[in-house]
Subunit: 197 residues, 2 copies
């Protein structure tokens, strides 16, 4: 029956299935630990098929990291609406919630970016740049957030602050509640932007 | 003459010389790129001698990272004195100055910690913990900086903020001056601590 199910998948469905499985294996491990053996075993496919879709082991790993980055961007998009404060706050909260909810995968992404090869670092850097650009380009936001090099530096640094604070908290909350954590990292942005005004 | 100079070095001087050279080679590269070949060439010593002092290539690399971490701790020690605000500010400024001045080596340290093995990550984490502990244990500082889990989380996150902001600025200052950068990262600590009060 597995074989029947397998043959029924269209190529794009199969690729999708492999990526989803890769993301799951990636969460909580480093990029180099994404095991092609475990992947072939769990997906019931041959190594050849993985090479067919992704070119190489490295190609597969990069596709998984790219998918993790795409997920982050998609899930933290500002909602539709006219109120720039509400949009900014919603996007900010979505980002914080995303990092807290996906902390294992997020840690893997951050580690992959720091320790990985140029291609992986590029994926992470582009995702981070896209999030920051999007923040500054939200219509109406210019009154709240002046688009200057100093402000951009601070917003980027705030992302590093969020990453570190959330991942440290996930390892060892020390009595700080999830609500307190969310408030700290959300309030940190206006606090930091305030110092460059 | 080189040979004569070489033979005159005492073992601890030789070890010191190799570490200093290793630090220089480390600055601007990743830990895996510290080339033992270049080291033997520049120091005019044999590979055997390096293994003699450090056990293995990995042992040497770890000793270099440990030395980088020790330097950071030593150069950012709070000065003698009775005024806790002055001591805290001096230590804070020293840290910011250190990261700006040694940004290449510091980037290597951060990358090594993120991508490196457990031993290297441990060295970096202990250095960061030591700096944070020292901040909270400065006599008289408790009125300025309550020692709570939330405050510790924020101070640790601030270190990540400083690292990211300074290293991004070093790559591309975009017209932000060194003075502005120093003010941003220094002012960021009270701004962040303020939100958990």
């Amino acid at each position: 029956m597995t074989a029947t199910t397998r043959t029924r998948l269209l190529p794009e469905e199969r690729r999708e299935q492999l990526l989803e499985l890769g993301l799951r294996l990636f969460s909580g491990s480093t990029i180099d630990e994404i095991s092609i053996d475990r992947l072939t075993e769990e997906a019931g496919v041959s190594r050849g098929l993985i090479y067919h879709y992704f070119g190489s082991k490295q190609g597969f790993r990069e596709a998984v990291v790219q998918r993790a980055a795409d997920d982050l961007i998609a899930q933290t998009a500002p909602p539709e609406g006219d109120d720039p404060i509400a949009k900014l706050l919603a996007s900010l909260t979505a980002y914080v919630d995303y990092v807290i909810a996906h902390h294992e995968g997020y840690r893997s992404l951050v580690l992959a970016a720091a320790g990985g090869n140029e291609a992986v670092r590029g994926i992470y850097e582009r995702a981070r740049a896209a999030m920051i650009d999007r923040t500054f380009e939200t219509p109406g936001v210019e009154d709240l957030l002046a688009d200057t090099p100093a402000t951009r530096l601070v917003v980027r640094g705030w992302v590093a602050f969020v990453e570190d604070t959330v991942l440290t908290w996930c390892d060892s909350p020390q009595g700080v509640t999830r609500g307190e954590l969310a408030r700290i990292v959300t309030d940190a942005l206006p606090a930091l932007v305030g110092i460059v005004r």
